[in-house]
Symmetry: C2
């Protein structure tokens, strides 16, 4: 039975896409429904999202943000107010045309994102510099009518948070954009054990209506990049389109400056593809619904179940623990919780008990350690820390090994052929023509402009050979 | 300025409806938007909802429930599967007909409630008795295309939680329905300081598709009843309509039994109208975004601000505290936080400091007490408990004074004329004809059938004078 369970997951090398959907289904993260392109997020998947929410929400509140909730509908005339924004989003929105039997006077779209709603609200509540800044966030779902969908990565409805802030000055808004990008990157590293590249999007890849868009990009096991979060600086473009003005200290009317930023359930897709293996999920301890599973071995032997129950009682105040007393075999249970990515497994058998302890196995590396009961709580704490660090190191190593510096197009093609997909780090002149050409000829698109590396005097555009303006991370993307 | 602020709220007696919307707007709970019938829930209003969520979610998890998330759309054919259900909801749903520029093959409604989605999901994941029960809940928003709307009480979109459970037996499902009704009533009493009547809805007032519907009903300051939460027992009707079956221990295929239950942001409306007064909101301490506000008096005097900051530092680990150091006058601040319903105000002035303490004022009764700094934390804790208890007693007294026992129709009319609106407790024969007649002739409709009182041998229907089957709470309702 245990073997059968494991066999049901396609191996990564055989078919990465199938491996991914197998995990989504078999680890009971999602289920499909008759609503095309949407998914049911099941308890185990939703619990991951709840843990992500809890950590991020605390971070947002620490940085002075407040939660609000806007309507889910946007009247067509409101969506139309900012030209670039509507052009970017109108082709992929769901339209409500009827309420009950009656046709609506004006059709409403289901929010694909809520800039327009926030702007309308700001125009109602912002009058003076005393009303600024507003640091708002909302946890909601949004809808984008995608043609091709995949669980967590691209679905017609997805859960996310969208931060929307408005400030007196451009400097303040730019600082906020950067602060939230850094917060996302820190969260990925510290809580998801996931290294990310922080960068700026090129003009062609910006958010519709933004002055500049920043993103964090993570590398998946198959060498593809995944955009895991974005942070946008809007300047005063939206303020002008929506006529949001405030009186400054000198009583002069000014336009405020805005930002928005978001991460979504896509992060769960990133966790699966950055950490998972052929046995299933590998979950970062901070967001794992079950941090440690307790499995009695030879539970029918005297004292085993009692000891397992006792340990559960000791650990459950400090960790998210599950004690599995079901009548499935230990082997079956081992496979089941491996597939579900539980970071730490605690095995308790008669022989362990005799020796005054139990065995701790860590999911990311399969290591087993005998641990005396005395000090078990600390040992679990240490194991979880070890799992987190080990997972991060492994992901970082993968990122480093699959980040290649290239100097021309042939170099890109050859490097990817030899080493497999990954990030190509290469100089770029800044022209859209070259950007398109690189993608056309090598298959990798610009993911982001490096925020830390600048081209040297001698660096030349990887495409046209002219003076390089930026160092760009190129890659195939989800 | 302080006076002006207070004057801006219409008094309850003058115009209760206007008093209500004044509070919603001036206490910054909501703001209107161009999306007709929907509202923006502002930070202060949303923080109340977050506190409600936190307490209820913990209670749900304690009772073994898991959170999930279903799609927000329901295909028309899926909504149509249960006849009574679709008849109840179809007239008030919003229809999505287009995705981008393309007309959808089948139109989708925005969920007005999610029974049909849960049923489809159950039919996919439930096979054997081992898969039961499923105790699910989701925190989402739903849409009902209401003609007349009011903030929190009736809006086209509202935030809520919907619990959906499925069980092997009818007994188990009925017990769950009752358990959740009791949980809601306990929550209202223990956390919202609000007494409620628990009862069963009559046939004409049942949820579309339910075998029986239970509700908690609260009494507002104007004597009207507000349905604050519902819990439904479905029997196996939905299971049959959606072909959900499981193999029991004897390998016989059976239909499982279901429930659903929910409370919404309507609870915030209930809090406003059950506890508020002419100075504004009065918030129950457990859900108040700010539990204690610290206001320095004569803040320019040496040592005052320092002491206020020090107290803030001491209290903020235990309570949701706000220190207001803005340059508004103390009087203005007093009014502001009274309007916002902050349960406890801590005033610190030079004379208080000389005496080694500060003044604690409680919102619900306006009482002021001098408290030594030493032991302030305990004093605040006690004050919050006093506010909760005082609020509950006041609301219970209001409920008791406005619950009238009546024996015939004339008695109802006369009692309401003399004492004002409230609950009329009166026997009923069980016929829909009498139910309608009572409403027509006296203005009060059946709110719920009492779960604790049964008619005596001699009790006669308040309308037709025949044998009484039930004791019913009648009232005007929101």
């Amino acid at each position: 039975m245990a073997e059968k369970l494991v066999k049901e997951i396609t191996s990564m090398d055989e078919d990465f896409a199938k491996w991914y959907t197998d995990i989504c289904k078999k680890a009971e993260l999602i289920e499909y429904s008759s609503v095309k392109g949407c998914m049911v997020v099941r308890p185990y998947g939703y619990a991951i999202w709840e843990n992500i929410q809890k950590i991020l929400d605390a971070r947002f509140k620490q940085t002075g943000h407040e939660n609000v909730c806007m309507p889910m509908f946007i009247p067509e005339s409101l969506l139309n107010k900012e030209k670039e924004h509507v052009e970017g989003f109108a082709p992929e929105v769901a339209w409500v045309t009827h309420g009950g039997d009656e046709k609506l006077e004006e059709r409403l779209c289901v929010r694909p994102t809520s800039e327009t709603l926030f702007c309308e609200h700001y125009s109602n509540i912002i009058h003076s510099y005393r009303d600024l800044p507003k640091l708002y966030n909302q946890w909601v779902s949004v809808v984008r009518w995608e043609k091709t969908t995949r669980p967590f990565l691209r679905s017609r409805e997805f859960l996310w948070q969208e931060g929307h802030t408005i400030h007196q000055t451009a400097e303040e808004a730019i600082a906020e954009t950067e602060r939230m990008l850094n917060l996302y990157a820190d969260f990925c590293r510290e809580n998801l054990a996931m290294p990310v590249i922080k960068g700026q999007k090129t003009e062609s890849d910006k958010f519709a209506g933004a002055v500049s868009t920043y993103a964090i990009e993570a590398l998946m096991h198959d060498g593809k990049a995944l955009q895991a979060g974005t942070s946008h600086y809007f300047g005063d473009g939206f303020a002008k389109a929506f006529d949001i003005q405030f009186s400054d200290r000198d009583n002069v009317r000014r336009y405020p400056h805005q930002t928005s930023w978001g991460v979504s359930t896509r992060l769960i897709g990133a966790i699966i593809m950055a950490h998972g293996d052929d046995s299933g999920l590998v979950l970062p301890p901070d967001v794992a619904p079950i941090q440690a599973v307790i499995i009695p071995v030879a539970a029918h032997k005297p004292g085993v179940t009692e000891k397992a129950v006792q340990i559960d009682g000791i650990l459950k105040d400090s960790f998210r623990v599950k004690l599995d007393l079901s009548d499935n075999s230990p082997g079956w249970k081992f496979s089941e919780y491996e597939m579900k990515g539980v970071p730490v497994r605690i095995e308790i058998g008669p022989r362990d008990i005799e020796k005054g302890g139990c065995v701790i196995a860590t999911r990311h590396d399969g290591q087993k350690t005998f641990v005396p009961f005395e000090g078990l709580e600390q040992a679990v704490k240490d194991a979880l820390r070890r799992v987190h660090d080990g997972m991060y190191d492994k992901a970082l190593d993968n990122l480093n090994r699959h980040t290649y510096s290239c100097t021309d197009m042939q170099d890109i093609t050859r490097t990817l052929e030899q080493n497999g997909d990954g990030f190509v780090k290469a100089p770029w002149c800044g022209s859209e023509e070259c950007e398109d050409k690189v993608k056309e000829q090598t298959g990798v698109g610009s993911r982001c402009i490096s925020l830390t590396d600048s081209p040297s005097e001698t660096d030349r555009c990887v495409c046209c050979g002219k003076h390089a303006e930026h160092i760009v991370y190129w890659g195939k993307a989800y």
